[in-house]
Amino acid sequence: MNEVGRNLSRLDGGEKVSGRAAYVADLYRPGMLHGAILKSPHAHARIVSYDTSAALQLPGVACVLTGEDVSGGKFGPFIKDEHVLAKGKVRFAGEAVCIVAAEDEETARRATQLIDVTYDELPAVLSPKEAMAEGAPLVHEDNAANFRVFETKCGGNLAWECYFSEGDVDSAWATCDVIVENEFETQAQAHVAIEPCGALVEVDAHGRLSIWSANQSVFRVQANVCDALGLPMSRIRCVTPRVGGGFGNKMEMHVQGMTAALALATGRAVKMVLTREEDFELVRLRHPYKMRVRTGARGDGMLIAREVEAIIDCGAYGDDSPGVMGFSLWMARGPYRIANFRSLGRLYYTNKLRFGAFRGFGNPQVTFATETQLDEIAARLGIDPFDLRERNAVRAGDTWVGGAPIHSDGFVKCLNSARRASHWERRHQLVAAPSRRRALGMACTAHICGLLATGAIVRLLEDGTVVLNTGAVDIGQGSDTVLPQICADALRIPVERVALASPDTDGSPFNWGTTASRVTYMAGRAVLGAADAVINKIKEHAAEMLECGVSDLELREGGRVGIVGVPQKEVSFQDVSLRAHWAVGGPIIGADSLIYNKPTIDPKRTVVSGLPFPQIGVFSFNAVVCDVEIDEATGKATVLEAWSACDIGKAINPMSVEGQIQGGFVQGLGFALFEEMVWDGPRIVNPSLMDYKIATTLDVPDRIHPLLIEDPEPDGPFGAKGIGEIPICSVAPAIANGIAAATSVRLRKLPLTPERILTAILEHPTAE
């Protein structure tokens, strides 16, 4: 029986439906203290003094730490610009200023209110526009001196600049018959994993720290905490409980460093779990983008040139912002053959909560703009939106911006599938209910899944069962099921015989993280490599046991190896493993590790500066169609039904792939229609689930059809590639294009709220 391609129920499903799955908040240690945070009330202020005496006198308080008490350095994935606690000054309202550990959570929180911090308020910069102004207050006085992992232009409040150019954009405009140029704006979106961020840290007798936390990579937790506290990596062990959703917010640091500092200071276990309000106010959000985009095409619909200029709000700290910006600028050409392409982005520090990784990594922002423009070009030229895209679609053998190879014809297949399944041809005959308008809208995108390093270890136990260890954290997407499926299929054993080791920096091979849609593709490849190594060793034993050559052997279903053509001549994995453990050769362990090493950019064809990812690739594709209805009285847009065709190479677990597509769609629906983090001056005004709305069962279409396109990726595990992020990326433009088709109004600012839609309709009652 093949394990790959099967709708296997989640292997962690049983513990989750029985309530036994343990997340970080569910862990308790003997004598455990509880941590709490004092947040900054100011967006920008110098810290003059601290008075912690009253807090320390509160019975039950074990420790109070300020920014002056925490030694260590600065951390950050691209720019090392952040301390665990504000040091010298605060840079956004909500920033952690002091932390307390106490016998219970209530006491810890009460103690934070007894801390007296004297601030000297500074003028704040609250938008990129303010940040780039002449003489603007500096968010980081030492900006240019901070360590950066790649070279870029920076200084003042400019945190990073990134630029791509290929072809000859300036000359190309003259050959275009139609050019559209517009400004677009997207909003800050909150991740809202239902599990708030948290950590539990315990110090052992040797002073070594064990860190459990809500995370997307135990290895990133380890690296960040070591940077932040100035500890060698060997002193920190990071492990993972179950993780209650992570959409980018749990990839880099949240409270692990603070919790570790309290544990070190007290010598006791400390647990710190954020409230929902804190989770909104002090972790990270999706970047708001302001973009100017210009796209030109010939009369026959061939796309000739595109130029994108983006101004991006970094927030107070670099976090993943340079990566997000660089990636989005690189994706902004879309999955089309556009020979002349240029994109430029500038990232500015502001006195706001940091912006960082969020599913799609900048791609949803640029895709909203670029796919809106393709719809406008199609309308101007009288070409069907699907036809326009198909004429320009990238195909196997083409390259991405910079020269990264495309191995798949999946994009054209996505277009055909979404077009057929949605019955696109009926779009002019749709019947709308009274006082409603209705239309189909579509949009497309591409994404990557090949990035950075990963490893896998497969061990054959004495009885012939297997332990798989990859260090990849399952954040809910299903890798704890998919990776064992890959392993079991490779070894031709039932998945029940594969145990999965929980990620542990002491025992697991490195895995950069559950991010960038990469686990199935990257970790899957490592699992196959490790399984192959085990198979080779098993065969070496079997050859000696059966007195034949290794090349005469075949792997048989159910954990056996036998001589080809001689059914009765075979040994079981157990026979082999017992021999290895007790007589000859030693225990059988297979390991593999790899790093994605295909260069992103060929410098002979593309001019680039400030590139944050020198090696990235492996493209997946997507086409979305939405049946959109607009209420003429209220302006409210509703998606009645949706189709999302995703090219995933091979679905290792089709049911899980469908779950990713539907879940990604709905997160994209929220981004498109109603989610927005709002500031009033320096403060976020809606840091609660009452005021920040995410989709409920009543907001989603009755049917979201996942359409799985399986165009195998040559080096993917069983042909598979990533699915995590791509389903969110083109939802907003598909809805916006549907609204435009239904009402003739174009909205270029997200979210597409009833107010904005209604106002636009009223302002343009006879548009087009």
Partner: protein, 159 residues
């Protein structure tokens, strides 16, 4: 602690003595004293539904319910759905139907579903949507959850 007293609560069919103050919530008692951590704290203000608990036959928010008011009531948590290691059809339907991703909302969704199916063993999809509209999920897009509830309704009808 001020006003602390010991009360007895009927949790999953067992009498359990717990320490409460007039302000102690059911969620805190269940999680921090009885270590029944299936109910989750997602927002602590009654919006997300991850702490949904059955009191008699009504789904309530554990984070908004004061423990001291629940003496003499039958409290059922997600842990109480599994009896002698046997999953209820609804638990099976969730597991087999891809309705569980990260699992953090699952306990609350299951309790809301359980309450719905006791009142209405074969709900329509719209009735399911209404009954689960107070349970937030950020992973699934709800589609497979709604399908699983409808399927469990079908299944229990045939049993």
């Amino acid at each position: 602690m001020n006003g602390e007293q010991i009360v007895t609560l009927a949790v999953n069919g067992r009498q359990r003595s717990v320490r409460t103050t007039p302000m102690t919530t059911l969620l805190t008692v269940l999680r921090d004293q009885l270590f029944l951590t299936g109910a989750k704290r997602g927002c602590n203000q009654g919006v997300c539904g991850a702490c949904t608990i059955l009191v008699d036959d009504q789904p309530v928010r554990g984070c908004l319910s004061l423990a001291i008011n629940l003496v003499g009531r039958a409290i059922t948590t997600v842990e109480g759905l599994t009896q002698q290691g046997e999953f209820k059809p609804i638990q099976q339907a969730f597991q087999e139907g891809g309705a569980v991703q990260c699992g953090f909302c699952t306990s609350g969704v299951l309790i809301s579903t359980w309450a719905l199916l006791r009142q209405n063993p074969r709900p329509s999809a719209d009735q399911v949507r209404l009954a689960l509209s107070g349970n937030l999920c950020r992973c699934s897009g709800y589609i497979k959850i709604i399908e699983a509830v409808c399927r469990a309704g079908e299944r229990s009808r045939h049993e």
